[in-house]
Symmetry: C2
Subunit: 225 residues, 2 copies
């Protein structure tokens, strides 16, 4: 038996649920590929339509615009990551071990069944690294936030902040430290591959070094209090 994780998506993110039809799944699948290949800026509904053999109008029936589609993908990603974290840290007693596991998941992402669904999680991970911030770095953050578009991100951050507090109840900045490690797991990766002199990992370009850096950052902050 093969389990399919179902991530409950915010209904306001789409006009028609892409999970509900083949066309919808195709849109998501090829959006991931196209966005990975061309980047968010050069990504257009026309291009998806052409590659999957439908028309622009067809895509617009599912998503209002490409911003919503990006937010959809990021929400899916954070949701999936929170699931992975709860799955992999389940039954762990020691919060320190938990936190280490979280850092590893943040920095590597995609575990096991890559082909679980129509979403290529490995590509999605790379998209989120390069484009994820653009989901909220906009003039409409406020409204988008009111509509709960960033709930999966905030939930994930809260989960991590709680583990941090378990590790070190007196630490004063659990949420900021959580968002810092989430963001840095991605940014250090982007820098390592694209602007390596902003990191100490330019030579080997190993994700494991990012993990070491984050572990060091987090656990010196939490130790001895």
């Amino acid at each position: 038996m093969r389990l399919q994780i179902q991530i409950k998506m915010n209904e306001a993110l789409f006009l028609r649920n892409p999970e509900s039809s083949d066309l919808g799944k195709n849109i998501i699948k090829h959006s991931v590929q196209l966005m990975y290949k061309n980047g968010f800026e050069a990504f257009t509904f026309k291009k998806i339509a052409d590659t999957i053999g439908t028309t622009e109008a067809g895509i617009y029936r599912y998503f209002e615009n490409k911003h919503k589609l990006l937010v959809y993908l990021t929400a899916w990603y954070w949701g999936s990551l929170e699931f992975q974290i709860s799955f992999h840290t389940n039954n762990m007693k020691d919060p320190t071990v938990k936190l280490k596991r979280v850092i590893k998941l943040l920095a590597t992402a995609v575990d096991g069944d890559e082909q679980t669904s129509y979403i290529n999680e490995s590509l999605l991970h790379k998209i989120i690294i390069a484009e994820g911030s653009k989901a909220y770095l906009t003039k409409q953050v406020g409204e988008d936030n009111k509509q709960q578009f960033f709930k999966p991100y905030k939930d994930l951050c809260a989960v991590i902040a709680n583990i941090i507090s378990e590790c070190s109840p007196k630490y004063k900045y659990p949420k900021s430290l959580a968002s810092t490690i989430i963001e840095m797991a991605h940014f250090q990766n982007f820098f390592m591959n694209n602007l390596p002199s902003l990191t100490d990992f330019g030579k080997n370009k190993e994700e494991s070094e990012i993990i070491s850096f984050l572990n060091d950052l987090v656990f010196t902050s939490l130790k001895k209090r």
Copy 2:
């Protein structure tokens, strides 16, 4: 006497040097205002042209496209910040004191003479917080980097990494820690104001709390080695 800081800009960022004419300075000045007001996505050359009473073609004589203009502004910002840092930490012996000063400058930015030039540095700071990452989160990072567009950022990061190493010569990740505090000085600010639950500063929304967080993060990492 009033000193005017001159930041040497990469010539490949523009077609005609905006500092060399009134029109050029006007373009920069109103770009900052418009980008602040509308955000990078809604910012167009037509809109600048209309607000300063020239034509689109006029803007295109100075900048190839709005991406280059954004990169220009970020380069200017990092250059100015590096200058401020070297100015304010000049003659300081204790690297710890220096580093504290750096963190404060990163998180507050804009010091003293706001009206030094045609660039409103206070607005520019806000633009960099919300739009700065978009300068490098693109498919062309590689080429842009080859043309040295990000040199001011990388130089600043190197300066900070050096101070970190002075504080703690054995610390293994000076560059990554430097890019982390640079990015987080901005992201925590953005989060605090727009997605406050990602931070511990949502209640008071005080920059000083971001500074405390960064100080804690950095100095626990560097202490006791």
